[in-house]
């Protein structure tokens, strides 16, 4: 099988070996259309790389750590990050390199090129992968081309691509990728043409921008747009853009520049040129037998076609599943910056105010029907913020990933998560809370008299520094860490926790400011001038995303607590009636019962399983390595907030999902195990802050492990061993 083919060498026999994009280019060349010169690296080259380097087996191991259905998207994101690092850190084997090198040098020597994906199945009528994989514009020199080929291969394993394939029911393990290396045509005007408008079948649509197509395709530059009658080719209407900028080839990549006054005043295409582009789209339609989505560019008067693919009704399909959401997983810097200011300046303050307003209402004085209304309104607020959480807070976390990707590309660290250390050097609310707890614990540690009095529940007088600190803490964080015990026992639960903290030396946050500065400087040193300024901004955005990733939950936790308080008050009243079983009732049922004395709530019944032959005991559970280190200690399973106050120094925190409202016990912990997976979840973030071994994404962790079990947490390998 050939590793590299020119467009002229491609025919229908090797269609699967070259992928949809290359095949379309070859078809256009055969039909006399003007296509920039290109080479195609076949699927065979990709497989050769995976086999010779052993990368194929390592990718398989990444994906078989657990059942794909149990993998959360954040874990897929982590796996994608690790896989991308494998590609960037694994050079091409020398024989493959030599054979590619000689062809590239003989065919495209000295040219600037575009390196694009051409995955089999891509650009078919049934599955549009448009924009799913990476393209790199203006790559120069054989070394750089070979490097970018690896990045395009890696994009087959981006979280976006993985989730998309999963949604389409395609087997991720069987996916493969060919790559097109195409001479870069530095067009002065570029655009796309839809031979048939998906929304109005009798029309065609042409969009155009000055400069390269990239800005139009990624949505950063608004195009002029023309609607044409498909039959007559006449222009029906023209929607001029607010023309400001264009994308042009810059050193080793592309850059954005401001248009001249003359360009700003005139559309990129004359009416004649619009007609030429339309005829090009029709020609492509004739060649391929169905209406096409064509990318083209003008160099002076020469019109080139860059690629062509069938128009799919992808928009309608996307509305029916999550694929559209997966596309939001790639956010531009600009977009994230706007999102950040909305979250920081509007949403978080609003959420905090709403929670405070709830907290001011005294539930015990409400009549049943008013309580029902209050419960409903808290449920509503909870659901609304939960939606916002998904639509705005989680996408903001992509600031972390954007930074991570840029960092990994620039620095190529052996630890793909090194960038997290740069982001972590930032202030989080949960750390501030923990610091205050530690300060109070230090007061107890240094004052035997105080310690003795507190053990006997004799609180010092109100103006004692400890009392002041405790009062102040409850004021600021009492609502955050509100568990049933805390609410009913006031400060007692906190004091018990403080006594426990005081019984062992202070836990230290990883103070690494010197190291961090060196890492930051090393990162910045890879960039110059403007680029370096951009990187400073990107780091700032990354840090804000990282901080908010934790803080948003703290504030959302306040809303959740208010809902829970109302639910508990309501259930207590129903239980008082005597005829209602309140365990496991959902809030809707509680509301109905509050409003109607005779209402019999529906309960979920639990089925009994068959007789069993064996007693199952986990021995070694596999998750994701989330913070390095190994520790062997006793487990403390947290399945309700009240367990938190039983936490003993040196235990391993095991839970379903660590939320930041629980992380005040982390300074006491020796390690963390969590069912939820991912590097960016709170358990992992806080574990890294305190330098604790952490394994996340362990299925059924909180069910399979019991309090008191002797565990080894291996944060290097991502495994948890239960000793018998």
């Amino acid at each position: 099988m050939e590793l590299v083919l020119t467009l002229e060498q491609i025919d229908s026999d090797n269609r699967e070996n070259v992928g949809g994009k290359s095949f379309a280019l070859a078809t256009m060349v055969k039909n006399g259309m003007k296509v920039p010169e290109a080479l195609c690296l076949t699927v065979e080259a990709y497989h050769r790389y995976l086999e010779t380097t052993g990368l194929g087996a390592r990718i398989l191991m990444e994906f078989n750590r657990k059942d794909f259905a149990e993998v959360r998207w954040e874990e897929i994101w982590d796996a994608a990050l690790r896989i991308r690092n494998l590609f960037t850190n694994t050079p091409m084997p020398s024989d493959l390199r030599t054979s590619l090198q000689s062809v590239l040098e003989s065919k495209l020597s000295g040219e600037s090129v575009v390196v694009r994906s051409s995955a089999p199945g891509e650009d078919s009528l049934h599955a549009s992968f448009a924009g799913l994989h990476e393209s790199y514009v203006n790559v120069q020199g054989v070394d750089a081309i070979l490097e970018h080929i690896r990045l395009v291969w890696a994009s087959l394993w981006s979280d976006r691509a993985l989730l998309y394939r999963q949604e389409l029911g395609l087997d991720v393990e069987k996916s493969s990728m060919a790559v097109v290396v195409q001479r870069l045509i530095s067009g002065d005007r570029s655009g796309v043409a839809f031979g048939k408008n998906p929304n109005a079948p009798h029309q065609a649509v042409i969009e155009s921008v000055y400069g390269l197509n990239q800005g139009l395709v990624d949505g950063s530059i608004e195009p002029d747009r023309w609607l044409l009658d498909r039959q007559s080719g006449k222009i029906i209407s023209h929607f001029p853009a607010d023309r400001v900028k264009e994308v042009v080839a810059g050193p080793n990549s592309t850059r954005v520049q401001t248009l001249s006054a003359a360009q700003q005043a005139h559309p990129p295409l004359s009416e004649d040129e619009v007609s030429r582009v339309f005829r090009l789209a029709l020609q492509a339609e004739e060649v391929f037998g169905s209406p096409q989505d064509v990318e083209w560019t003008f160099v002076g008067d020469d019109l080139y076609v860059l690629q062509s693919r069938p128009i799919t009704s992808v928009r309608a399909e996307q509305e029916q599943d999550s694929r559209a959401w997966y596309f939001t997983l790639r956010r531009s810097f600009e977009n994230l910056r706007r999102l950040r200011s909305r979250v920081e300046d509007e949403l978080i303050p609003e959420m905090e105010m709403e929670a405070k307003a709830f907290a001011q209402r005294d539930l015990s004085t409400l009549a049943d029907s008013d309580l029902a209304r209050e419960l409903a309104s808290r449920q509503q607020a909870h659901d609304r913020w939960k939606d916002i959480y998904w639509s705005e807070f989680i996408p903001l976390a992509h600031g972390i990933r954007l930074f991570g990707q840029v960092y990994n590309d620039a620095v190529r660290p052996s630890d793909p998560y090194e960038f997290m250390d740069l982001l972590g050097a930032t202030e989080m609310v949960s750390l501030e809370r923990n610091r205050r707890l530690e300060n109070m614990a230090a007061m107890i540690r240094g004052d035997a008299n105080l310690s003795h009095r507190l053990r006997n529940l004799h609180y010092p007088e109100p103006d004692h520094p400890f009392s002041v600190a405790l009062e102040d803490f409850i004021d600021k964080f009492g609502d955050l860490s509100c568990s049933e015990e805390l609410c009913t026992q006031g400060g007692d639960a906190i004091v018990r926790l403080l006594l426990e903290m005081a019984s062992r030396p202070a836990a230290e946050e990883r103070f690494r400011s010197g190291d961090i500065e060196a890492l930051v400087e090393n990162f910045f040193s890879r960039f110059e001038g403007e680029k370096r300024k951009d990187m400073e901004e990107l780091l700032d955005l990354g840090r804000a995303s990282y901080r908010l990733r934790d803080d948003d939950n703290i504030y959302f936790g306040m809303i959740q607590n208010q809902l829970r308080l109302a639910l508990e008050e309501s259930k207590a009243r129903l239980a008082h009636r005597g005829n209602v079983q309140v365990d496991g009732l959902d809030p809707m049922e509680v509301i109905n019962a509050l409003n109607d004395l005779d209402y019999v709530p529906k309960r979920v019944t639990v089925t009994q399983a068959d007789e069993i032959n064996f007693e199952v005991r986990p021995r070694q559970l596999v998750g994701q390595p989330a913070s390095p280190g190994v520790v062997r200690a006793s487990a403390r399973v947290i399945d309700s907030p009240s367990n938190l106050f039983e936490f003993k120094a040196g235990e391993i925190l095991v839970c379903d999902a660590v939320d930041p409202n629980m992380t005040f016990v982390v300074p006491l912990a020796a390690g963390i195990v969590e069912r939820r997976g991912g590097m960016l979840i709170h358990g992992a973030i806080i574990a890294r802050e305190y330098g604790l071994p952490c394994v996340t994404g362990v299925p059924n962790a909180a069910s399979l492990i019991h309090t008191g079990d002797e565990l080894t947490v291996d944060g290097y390998l991502g495994i948890v061993v239960k000793h018998s």
Partner: protein, 163 residues
Amino acid sequence: MAEINGSGSRRETLLSEEAELEDLIRELFESQKLAVLGTQNQGQPYANLVAFAPSDDLKSLYFVTARATRKYANIEADARVTVLIDNRSNQDSDFSQAAAVTATGTAQEVVNSERDAVLSIYLAKHPMLKDFVQSPSCALLQIEVETYYLVRRFQNVMELHVK
């Protein structure tokens, strides 16, 4: 993201886990004909292949051996044995996709009253061994399993203890 409703109860999770693991072991046993048997004599471990068959409840594993063999002598000296059954295919993908079950337990000869029933289970799986098992020089052995250790996905290990 914090979740108000936790996942299913602990008991339910364990019950469904048990059923799932039992199914996995059953499937693995159906797919394989041979097992590695580990015995020992005076501290010297010894491993060899045997054609095995499981009982319906998975609590026993059966195999047949000639009495003149080293494994038979070893079992006479120490009845504690181990068995390994796996589905590896000698490919890179084994590291992620192969499963292996180790059983530990005690071996003894099947007594006359049960011999016919066990033989029919055994021969259903290994019809080609009909002559072998009926040879007077062969013994039909039962391993009473105490614990299964199931390894999947390279490092995931679960134990199943016979109740």
